[in-house]
Symmetry: C2
Subunit: 690 residues, 2 copies
């Protein structure tokens, strides 16, 4: 239990370094805050300053009607703060800063997730559809009013009957060449548009997705600008709808349903960037393949997924800030020395909170990479088909992990705060209620993971293209050694993954960065190869048997996709740590990265054991080592959550305000005074035996 310096080489030194007292190093909190805020730190800080205004905060106890009105007013304040148009080109008041635009948006979750998502509906979906799917005349006609909120709009894609499978929606837009108009029509109840923000009350128009039919041919899903309500808020002729009512959360948003009875809109209301209809009804598109055209249109709207990844990570950070702060002040049950034990000193409490801090850090770093990729593609600098595809896969891999992690973390944090965690004033429950739907909107998490899984399978298959059977056989051998396959944006093995050069017990155990990467990447590769191998017979089967075979392997494919996302997060975390110059900070964040990586391996331990990738001995060492990492990180827990950079106006939970510490101090002083007064009641004597 000695030695503070890290010295390399001998096993004895390694052990000494590993057990260096944790007080020896501290993290440089402001430095880590900068790192976590990432590429658009300045924009994030601006947004955080803005939402210090209580007018932006969620207010408990409102009816959903009152909450909706409050949020609508908040949206106007966003406009007044010039906070919503960063992604637009200069001519529409923006600065073509796509990454910054989302970074700013992601910070709104601290104010009120309803405000965030209503802003997302108005500018991230409705306005974006006009901008991304429309052309200059549409921009000139509708962008100014949608940006200023004079034209609140709904994004009418999802239907009651079709969410994840957008290609199969039932709404039709049939072209009438005589009138040069489209007829927007809802043919049956399942084709009602549903769950649309702005639809129940505020929406004056909608971007409506419908099957474009002209000349008796269905050209697939396209988007149309459709006016909904007159100036008095009444539905226009042919338009109808319903309020979705109270939801599990986000009750500041007026979600609702819409249906259309042969509603006529001018031909020009087709948002025609990717497909157009001439006056005579002739269809044209620069993208010949209907499938590729469809996915290009959908891909243009990927920003929702990207931003949810960052928002969910922010919510996790806030939850951990609250729970750790409280856990460092709250005491329960007398410890060995008589005084009550601080919650964070319990082994279980550490295991509940510290690994979740590690995951949240990993997500923050991975998200910044995602945002950079997004910025490059949508700003035009790196806008290639390959990059778009990679961006979509990356977003589809990260968004499920971070949104689920937010729900898990908010729940654990709430339970870790006991009854106090259940009070609305301490925010954890409301945040969880609001974030709940992040797991299924902008792409159901499981459907997104399946998308990633299919991409991984596709990349895997590409490696065989044009190879002869001998080469493939050699490949399969190589694969067993865990050396070959890298799909969908994976860093190459051994490439760009900085070994931190830490010399510690982890070295002896084979658990350092290089080993972690090998284990995590090896698992992705092996799982994809395994599923691919099992699916190989599908080519020779009929469609039903092939579908059944795929179905049998669905669970494992989703798991492979998840493993892929985890690996990406680990890699981003590792790169971030490597970039740190301050030695103490780098060491402690290195431990946190280890906790993340080893935690993943522990979570999937059965897999590693079954596939002979970890010996029993290493596996047993792993769990013990994680326990020790928790102990080592415990003194830094507060620093680690303080580094999220959240100020009192962002936290706003009384239990994380220092009030608990005051209560503890007051109680301790009371008992000390009582003891000093000599009037303290004595303890009852234990009964005599016999």
């Amino acid at each position: 239990m000695a030695d503070t310096a890290v010295r390399p080489q001998t096993s004895r030194d390694a052990r000494a370094a590993e057990s260096a007292p944790p007080e020896a190093a501290r993290i440089d909190v402001p430095l880590v805050t900068d790192l976590l805020l990432g590429t658009w730190a300045d924009v994030r800080r601006t947004a955080r300053e803005m939402i210090k205004d209580p007018a932006f905060w969620r207010e408990d106890g409102l009816t959903h009607h009152q909450h909706r009105e409050r949020v609508f007013q908040q949206l106007k304040k966003l406009v007044a703060h010039n906070s919503i148009a960063r992604a637009m080109p200069a001519e529409y008041g923006g600065e073509n800063n796509n990454g910054g635009n989302l970074a700013s948006f992601e910070e709104l979750v601290f104010a009120d997730p309803s405000l965030q998502i209503k802003a997302g509906v108005q500018w991230g979906l409705f306005t974006s559809a006009i901008y991304q799917l429309g052309t200059k005349p549409h921009h000139d006609k509708w962008l100014p009013a949608s940006l200023s909120l004079d034209l609140p709009g709904a994004f009418a894609m999802t239907e009651t009957g079709h969410g994840s499978d957008v290609a199969a929606i039932g709404t039709t837009a049939t072209y009438d060449a005589e009138a040069e108009e489209f007829l927007i029509h809802t043919p049956f109840r399942g084709a009602w548009k549903d769950y649309l923000g702005n639809a129940a009350v505020h929406g004056k128009a909608a971007t409506v997705f419908a099957q474009l039919i002209t000349g008796g041919v269905n050209y697939g899903v396209h988007c149309f600008f459709v006016p909904l309500r007159d100036d008095d808020g009444a539905f226009l002729p042919g338009v109808g709808g319903e309020d979705d009512g109270v939801k599990g959360g986000l009750n500041g948003i007026d979600n609702g349903r819409l249906h259309f009875d042969h509603v006529r809109v001018p031909r020009e209301n087709l948002l025609n960037r990717y497909g157009d209809v001439a006056a005579d009804g002739t269809y044209s598109s620069a993208i010949a393949s209907p499938g590729r055209r469809f996915f290009t249109m959908l891909g243009a709207l990927v920003q929702g997924r990207v931003s949810l990844d960052g928002s969910a990570t922010n919510a996790s950070a806030l939850a951990l800030k609250i729970a750790v702060t409280y856990g460092n002040q709250r005491r329960q049950f007398a410890g060995a020395a008589g005084a009550e034990t601080v919650l964070m000193d319990y082994g279980k409490h550490q295991r509940r909170l510290l690994p979740r801090i590690a995951t949240t850090y990993a997500q923050a770093f991975a998200h910044d990479e995602l945002l950079q990729k997004f910025h490059g593609v949508f700003g035009g600098e790196t806008d290639t088909e390959q990059n778009r595809e990679d961006l979509e896969t990356l977003a589809a891999a990260l968004k499920p992990l971070s949104t689920w992690h937010a729900l898990d973390t908010l729940q654990e944090a709430r339970e870790a705060c006991g009854g106090a965690g259940y009070l609305g004033e301490n925010r954890l429950v409301n945040l969880r209620q609001d974030l709940d739907v992040y797991a299924t909107f902008e792409g159901d998490n499981n459907v997104l993971l399946q998308l990633v899984g299919k991409r991984l399978l596709g990349d895997y298959a590409k490696q065989f293209k044009g190879k002869d059977p001998k080469e493939i056989a050699a490949f399969v051998v190589g694969q067993t050694a865990g050396k070959v396959f890298h799909g969908a944006g994976l860093r190459q093995l051994g490439q760009a993954v900085a070994d931190l050069g830490q010399v510690a017990r982890s070295v002896e155990l084979g658990l350092r960065a290089k080993d972690q990467h090998e284990l995590l990447a090896g698992r992705v590769q092996q799982m994809v190869a395994d599923v691919a191998g099992r699916l190989r017979p599908a080519a020779k089967l009929g469609p039903e048997a092939a579908a059944a075979l795929f179905n049998e392997n669905q669970v494992e494919l989703l798991e492979a996709a998840r493993a892929h996302g985890e690996l990406l997060q680990w890699e981003a975390f590792t790169d971030a740590v490597a970039s740190i110059e301050d030695e103490g900070t780098r060491q402690i964040l290195g431990w946190l990265r280890d906790l993340f990586g080893l935690g993943l391996i522990e979570k999937h331990l059965a897999w590693y054991l079954l596939h002979g990738r970890l010996s029993n001995q290493r596996a047993i060492a792993l769990s013990r080592y994680i326990d020790r990492l928790c102990l080592r990180l415990r003194p830094h827990a507060q620093d680690l959550v303080d580094a999220f950079g959240l100020e009192p106006e962002h936290v706003r939970a009384p239990i994380a305000s220092g009030a608990e510490q005051e209560r503890q101090d007051e109680a301790a002083a009371h008992y000390a005074d009582l003891a000093a007064s000599g009037e303290a009641p004595v303890k009852e004597k234990k009964p005599q035996r016999g």
Copy 2:
């Protein structure tokens, strides 16, 4: 893929039986409903009839003030229905039916969990404290009014500063012999009573837990009857309080805080069943040990934990009824044959819902055993110290598992229903919000598991008592063979666990009932022995080092306690299956029990592999076998959830009402008509290459 009958013996027959088409057997739904409703099926049916009245239902969109008033009126209706006094003796209008009383209470969760928990506060806590901790004069004085709701009361145990550690509460009750009164006093802010139902608005009195001090001696925590408000609802002199405001759920309950400034109550207001103070201030108690007295008083209030186990199981059942019904009607993405695939036919969807049905069944059966035990002890038939202790351990083992399972199941069900699952009208989100706090009230789940863990350690140690080292050595050897230790209400290995005599693939794989039991029980034994072994040095350590050692093993001790609870559930499930006479039903519920047991083993697979209790081969077979069990159970999914016996008035979720099927049928008919009309638009031609 042939053969419908189950014939024993040869491996070939076994394989045939295992692959018998699932349509061959059906479950007898009413029979299973009877089984699930358990010992107090009639009482449950009565309660379910009662709550068909919409006046009992939760209403969306109310403010918490409105909701509180609605629930208060609902409580009056419970009184009118004579639904709340079953546990009381005849002289107070009851029938001394403790099991039936809780069974009825548990059904209220289908109406509105707020109604349930507010009823729990009034009659399960406040009235029970008077009844269980008081004596005849208290009963005569206060029970009639508390039972009739003329005297709404709060149960003032928890303080802002002390929840789980009740023994350390700060509120004092100091005896003034001159006035023959107790002074109830709150010495500092952390000692405010907090989170108390009925405290914010409706409570006219409270049963207040405080440190009883007389003659300068603190005799520990006792309970006092303290009036709170006058007839106009104003606080009496010296009493103060606050509203806890909006919570994460259960907003139909007026939780609040209370504090007391030297409030005087007559000496007779001490609820004196377990400890009394004479007029002159002399303390007396039939229980000499302060520790045992304290735990006896707390144990008298165990019914809260018992009933939450049943309520959480009911909530899980409802969630699965909704999600499976919807999953059997909702279609998404075209399948092999062109038509869209029903959600329940997806491998992932099966893996999401079927194992949770299995767990819910296991819980229902385990809960009925718990309820029987409770009924025996509290009705007096089996009221021994040993039985009380077993009951408390059993409740502490089962309540955490079922309340966490409810949260997990409600969330998975909500996600499995997509956007529709997020609507308040479909109930999953609201139920989850209400049930959230079940994980930390009436005993924080982790604290309860620690209680169980300590009991397991104690039972383990008892085996060594009086044995010489040679015997202990022999014991340790025997233990490795997994044959010895059985603590805390475990059935003996091989005892009472019916082997169903199923001959199937599971036999070959070593995965049948006997094997499952051996694996599950062996894990509990081994984990307890391992922790005990690691804690052994504690006896020779100082208190700080001993506490640190315990802390290091806390996570694993909690895991052992959880494993113990899972084993109890498995055993109850197995006994229930064995009791079924209908062959088809027994077979299918046997599969479901297998899914539960093997699912547990899969969840802890790394442990089994690391401890050499499963070979790699068996482990790999396990997961594949679970997949096949899911496929085999899939055609019975609807029957299994229908067997919960919930009627439309209990379900009330539009998505589980058949509305989705109607929408699907309407859409299918629309497309069929369109095709028949010859006017359907044709698909766009794929572009020619080159």
